[in-house]
């Protein structure tokens, strides 16, 4: 097997935790997330010498998102759309933050893959509209409209931030 270049090794070591979280938001499953990240990095590696010169992370993000959309189209991942979201959590037990996380993840996963990608890139990866558009290979107007639709779809389905913070305080987190 060919050895990785030091900068690729460095990139994987430094960025994979963050990219793995992003992959989890896209897939909703830790194993699929890991698989998705491996897929993306494996696609990137042969072109690393070229892309490492200029914004490698942006390139990896783009591959990650596109790979996920591709999976979704092929239904390889066995993911089923959620017809019903879990009920909003009631903070009655110490695992409530986990439950809240699941509710958030389920709400995001209920979005169509493109909207999901927009939400993850814009609000988790904190990309600008322009960078999100670049990552998704579309124009900024599309990102804005997808964002609008996603926010509409998520409205009322997410737990309130205050609720989570209350839970966090009570748990002493």
């Amino acid at each position: 097997m060919r050895d990785a270049t030091p900068d690729f090794e460095e990139f994987v070591a430094a960025r994979s935790p963050r990219l793995l979280r992003m992959a989890w938001l896209l897939t909703g499953d830790p194993h699929l997330a890991e698989d998705l990240l491996q897929t993306a990095l494996a696609k990137v590696w042969p072109r690393w010498e070229k892309i490492s010169i200029d914004r490698p992370e942006a390139y990896v993000r783009r591959v990650l998102v596109n790979s996920h959309v591709s999976w979704w189209r092929r239904r390889w991942h066995g993911e089923l759309p959620h017809g019903e979201l879990p009920e909003s959590p009631v903070h009655t037990d110490p695992f409530e933050d986990v439950v809240v996380g699941q509710v958030v993840a389920a709400a995001v996963r209920a979005l169509p893959p493109r909207q999901r990608a927009v939400v993850v890139l814009r609000y988790f990866e904190d990309l600008s509209v322009e960078d999100t558009a670049e990552a998704l290979g579309c124009n900024p107007g599309t990102v804005k409209s997808q964002t609008h639709r996603a926010l509409q779809a998520l409205r009322g389905k997410l737990p309130s931030r205050e609720l989570m913070l209350d839970g966090g305080r009570r748990d002493g987190i």
Binding site: M1, S16, P17, W24, L41, R55, P56, L158, R169
Partner: protein, 311 residues
């Protein structure tokens, strides 16, 4: 989960592994993260940003992630090459072989590699070093098959061994990465285009002519996409009828079969893919295809000898 006091995650004690946000080494200055959150964000957007960061667990990447990535990249490379070669029955390869058929069919006898023949002499350093499956080493477990067979090893192909009927031709088309090699089995002689180079996906092999009646051409390769391999893991079903593509049809095929067999359940999952193109196959030929598939094994002691063989 982290965070406790309600401060916005980007500005206060609610920490989300700030090291993750340090992308200076991997982002061009002035790009990427600059325009994400802003004062123009609505409260709804800020809330969503917060919730997403709370929801996404901090999963530890596997310690051997880099190794897995490099292995997967290598498998993908092999698979693409295998797919390109195995496309002798599906895509590209046979089409190109057919394009070359006029040149191959009337070729002098030297173009058909006889059992005792050696592979075509390399024409250049970049020429492929085509090797073939070994000569018969035994009559094989004919009792189990109902007719004489011989073991054929493809050491370059993950050490695969299959049993093929006596009289069938076998040939390995090696790749730079051994696991991307393709093994061919046919009920009639196989040919190699002497001028092919490793970079030509269509250089490999094709029957000397169109498949005769009851003729069979089989391509065996490894599935090196681990996701697909995992999906097919445990497969031991008989080869099933597949769509007759134009390439198989062009060879005179009337029936295409596709089958998979798992030869290693882990480390990594190894699944063999068999594609068969058949022309009006007899029961015996159909049985042979299924038995070839079911006979696939992995061994570290597969014998090998250069040159295409017909045993």
């Amino acid at each position: 989960m982290t965070g406790s006091d309600g401060t916005h995650p980007e500005s206060g004690p609610l920490e989300f592994d700030r090291s993750e946000f340090d992308r200076s080494g991997f982002e061009r200055p002035g790009s990427g993260r600059s325009g994400g959150s802003s004062a123009a964000d609505t409260e709804e957007e800020q809330e969503l940003r917060y919730l997403l960061r709370q929801a996404a667990p901090h999963l530890p990447p596997p310690a051997d992630l880099l190794d897995r990535v490099l292995e997967r990249a290598a498998r993908t490379r092999r698979r693409r090459r295998t797919a390109g070669l195995a496309a002798g029955l599906t895509t590209g390869l046979v089409a190109a072989a057919l394009a070359a058929a006029p040149a191959i069919a009337p070729a002098p006898p030297a173009g058909v590699i006889r059992p005792a023949a050696t592979p075509p002499a390399p024409t250049a350093a970049a020429s492929p070093t085509v090797t073939a499956s070994p000569a018969p080493t035994s009559a094989g477990p004919g009792g189990a098959f109902g007719y004489p067979v011989r073991p054929v090893g493809f050491p370059e192909l993950g050490g695969l061994v299959v049993y093929v009927p006596i009289g069938w031709s076998t040939l390995l088309v090696p790749a730079a990465d051994p696991r991307r090699s393709t093994g061919y089995l046919a009920s009639q002689p196989l040919t190699v285009r002497p001028s092919c180079t490793a970079k030509q996906s269509a250089c490999a092999t094709a029957p000397a002519d169109e498949l005769g009646e009851d003729g069979a051409l089989i391509a065996i390769g490894l599935i090196d996409d681990q996701t697909l391999a995992a999906k097919l893991s445990g497969t031991s079903e008989p080869a099933a009828e597949a769509g007759l593509d134009k390439d198989c049809f062009g060879l005179g095929g009337t029936l295409a079969l596709l089958g998979h067999r798992t030869v290693a359940e882990a480390d990594p999952v190894t699944v063999v893919e068999l594609k068969a193109c058949l022309n009006k196959p007899s029961e015996r030929t159909l049985q042979s295809v299924q038995q070839i598939l079911s006979s696939v094994r992995v061994t570290g002691n597969a014998p090998a000898a250069p040159g295409s063989r017909r045993g």
